[in-house]
């Protein structure tokens, strides 16, 4: 529940459901029928799922058979990273190297750690530049050192913390020369920047509902038909035998409606978000001159950065204090860093970008989305000066 006064600027964490998605979901919540059942009710549910699959495929530029519904981004990332690794290694035991970046989401980094620890994978997290963008040359060198030993490459489409768009097209070009499959976590990208699966040349792509106006708990791995993937879980053999489990018909219907609407609205949506974001960044820096934008700067933002992301550093402040003080003003944002037991850790993304531990703790991520308005930006600008002063005092 968000109270009326809430200024919600954490759309990169989750964004409100679009009305079309709520409608699609509620329309099917009372329907009975397991999509795997053979009777009429089952066929009706199956039809909803398959129409949803076609809708998602149309929106993303893939074939319907390439859409594997999952419980969300984390499952899709795990399925891609582990499933492709297992399958490629089983086909050729030399393939143990997995190449990725130091700025991936934990839904990719942690499966990679697990593979290294339990499955003999050799994980290489390739460096990024100071804006958080993969150094493609490092990837090329790593592949060319021994192309036959690479099981897969996984590089996110856009970074969730600092909003940096990764050079996925260049990654594909480098990897494709050696027929190495490429997975991309596009959870932050779909609906905010143009994403076309076929045109991108990637072999697997993760997306999730709640980041684009769909429900929680449903997402998809788009998987090139020819690519063999070892399943994580075993059961009823749904979803090409890759992802067993009874299909969530209302969730999938809502997810598809959201994907369709978000992708259709993407150009105007991005332009509007970018306008709000740019205004937020400029006004905050004007009010707090020491503040600075992490990641690609505004002049390059149109091509290099997610349109809704403003990741700002406030020297001399703890991100936690800033977040808490803004929260008390009804302004909701994020420190953008991962938590374990609620204990904030310095962001691995900022550390990889060359920030020191101090710098990696003084940041806030504001992310605008489809419900954001100029009034939200104005509220931040009105609150930020006293909040920064307080947070700075709390550091001493």
């Amino acid at each position: 529940m968000t109270e009326p006064a809430t200024v919600y600027l954490d759309h990169a964490a989750t964004t409100p459901m679009l009305p079309v998605a709520v409608e699609a979901m509620t329309a099917h919540l009372r329907d009975v029928g397991n999509a795997s059942s053979l009777h009429a009710s089952g066929r009706r549910a199956r039809r909803v799922v398959e129409e949803s699959r076609e809708t998602v495929a149309r929106a993303l530029g893939c074939r319907p058979g390439e859409v594997v519904f999952t419980s969300g981004g984390t499952e899709a990332d795990n399925l891609a990273v582990k499933g492709i690794y297992w399958s490629r290694r089983d086909a050729d035991p030399r393939r143990r190297r997995v190449l990725s970046t130091a700025v991936e989401h934990h839904a990719v980094l942690d499966p990679l750690d697990w593979l290294a620890e339990h499955e003999g994978a050799e994980v290489e997290l390739l460096p990024v530049d100071e804006r958080g963008r993969l150094l493609v040359e490092a990837l090329r060198e790593s592949i060319e050192r021994d192309p036959g030993s690479v099981a897969l490459v996984t590089v996110m489409w856009a970074n969730n913390e600092v909003g940096t768009l990764q050079p996925v097209d260049e990654v594909v070009r480098v990897a494709a020369a050696y027929e190495i499959p490429v997975h991309t976590d596009a959870v932050q990208a779909v609906g905010t920047v143009p994403v076309d699966f076929a045109a991108s040349g990637v072999d697997a792509l993760t997306l999730t509902g709640h980041k684009l106006g769909g429900p929680y708990g449903v997402g998809a791995l788009v998987l090139r038909r020819e690519l063999s993937v070892t399943p994580l879980g075993h059961g009823g053999g749904q979803e090409r035998d890759i992802r067993s489990g009874t299909l969530d018909t209302p969730g999938i219907a809502a997810f598809a409606a959201a994907v369709e609407a978000a992708v259709k609205a993407q150009p105007e949506h991005a332009e509007r978000m970018q306008g709000l974001r740019d205004d937020l960044v400029r006004q905050v820096i004007e009010a707090v001159p020491e503040a600075h934008l992490h990641g690609p700067q505004l002049e390059r933002a149109a091509t290099d950065r997610l349109p809704g992301n403003a990741h700002l550093g406030f020297p001399g402040c703890e991100g936690d204090s800033l977040l808490m003080l803004l929260d008390a003003h009804g302004i909701e944002c994020s420190t953008g860093s991962a938590c374990s037991a609620g204990v904030p850790q310095p962001s691995h993304v900022l550390l990889a970008m060359g920030c020191d531990e101090e710098q990696s703790r003084h940041s806030l991520r504001f992310s605008v989305g489809h419900t954001s308005t100029q009034a939200d930006i104005d509220a931040v600008v009105a609150a930020i000066v006293p909040v920064v002063e307080r947070a700075r005092a709390a550091r001493r």
Partner: protein
């Protein structure tokens, strides 16, 4: 909010009294799993979740503050140093002095809060001279004024102890009535960063090269005879009786107690209970809750949950001389002597030396 019942009810009462309350859980361990696991203790993920749920039920915002570095520096390191020096520290006092009512309070004040409220059982009352007085809780069994005896007037002015007027049982009942799921959670008694209360084991592992010795002799005070060996003086506390592992009984058949710990030579001296008796105590680094006294007649408490001893106290700058009316037993340097005038806490000092003047026949 530790995740226990007391701080949960304290937060609920503060909120109900009309304060604008924010719940803070302190992350005190650098690695949440490393110091301690299990439902009791202050450093586990489960405790942090319990605290969060309590804040939800009360309807207040909740955050985790990472004070692990400060805690390690000011409390854990101090704990190790003190044991290495043959003293017996009380880390809860240190934590109140340096963390809860210093690091946390300072940060809270800077962020615009007015006070830190905790679930300690103690009472604050307005004094005659405009000062805030710290008093014992109404529940004798739960009174925690001892571990708050290090707070000065400035700290007390920004403190709230909403549980001081209630017996523990009432607090548990109130927690249940308020729908706080921690109502039945067991009390924690041990040191929060030491697993299973195994002080000696923890110190043996953590002290490593910093231990002043890794063993020495256990010597009888009367005969000077070596009665056994031990694996490190840090495993002992003055007045300790258990775990001496002296092979043979004393000639008089009476139990033996630790009388003295000598960290450099590693010698632990043991003797009879009578030899433990002291009536002169010197305390250093005093902390005063209000006006600094020059001398007074009152009571002192010499360990957490210890008894009150009638005493006269003389203050000379940074040194506090305590004369007990009746001897006390097993008084360990490093512990705090907390000085009371009736139920009011006057202040505290760290026990540095003890002796016996009046040896009765």
């Amino acid at each position: 909010m530790s995740g226990g019942v007391d701080s949960a009810v304290a937060a609920a009462r503060a909120a109900e009294a009309g304060h604008d309350v924010t719940g803070i859980h302190l992350a005190l361990s650098r690695n949440p799993a490393s110091y301690r696991s299990g439902a009791r203790g202050c450093c586990t993920i489960e405790d942090s979740n319990d605290a969060r749920r309590a804040a939800d039920v009360i309807g207040i915002p909740f955050y985790v503050w990472d004070l692990s570095d400060r805690f390690h520096e000011d409390v854990v390191e101090d704990f190790m140093d003190e044991y290495a020096a043959g003293r017996t520290p009380n880390p809860c006092l240190r934590c109140n002095e340096k963390i809860k009512f210093a690091a946390v309070l300072d940060r809270a004040l800077a962020l615009g809060f007015d006070a830190v409220a905790t679930g300690h059982y103690a009472q604050l009352r307005p004094g005659d001279d405009g000062l805030v007085e710290l008093h014992r809780a109404v529940d004798d069994g739960k009174d925690q004024s001892y571990v708050l005896g290090v707070l000065d007037q400035q700290q007390l002015r920004h403190s709230l102890f909403p549980l001081g007027d209630s017996p523990k049982r009432a607090v548990r009942e109130e927690a249940a009535r308020r729908g706080l799921l921690v109502a039945d959670k067991p009390d924690s008694h041990d040191i929060c960063f030491v697993a299973n209360g195994d002080n000696a084991g923890w110190l043996a592992e953590k002290l490593g090269d910093r231990a002043p010795n890794h063993g020495g002799e256990i010597v009888d005070s009367a005969s000077g005879e070596v009665l056994g060996r031990h694996e490190g003086t840090y495993g002992f506390t003055i007045g300790q009786r258990r775990g001496l592992r002296i092979g043979r009984p004393a000639p008089d058949g009476k139990p033996r107690f630790v009388l003295d710990i000598e960290p450099v030579s590693g010698t632990v001296t043991v003797g009879t209970r009578e030899e433990l008796a002291v009536d002169r105590i010197t305390g250093l680094d005093p902390r005063w809750c209000g006006t600094v006294p020059t001398s007074l007649t009152g009571t002192v408490q010499l360990r957490a949950h210890g008894q009150e001893h009638r005493a006269s106290v003389t203050v000379d700058d940074d040194e506090v001389a305590i004369e007990l009316v009746d001897p006390a037993y097993g008084i360990a340097p490093g512990q705090a002597a907390v000085i009371y005038d009736g139920t009011r806490v006057v202040g505290s000092a760290t026990i540095s030396a003890t002796s016996r003047v009046d040896v009765s026949p």
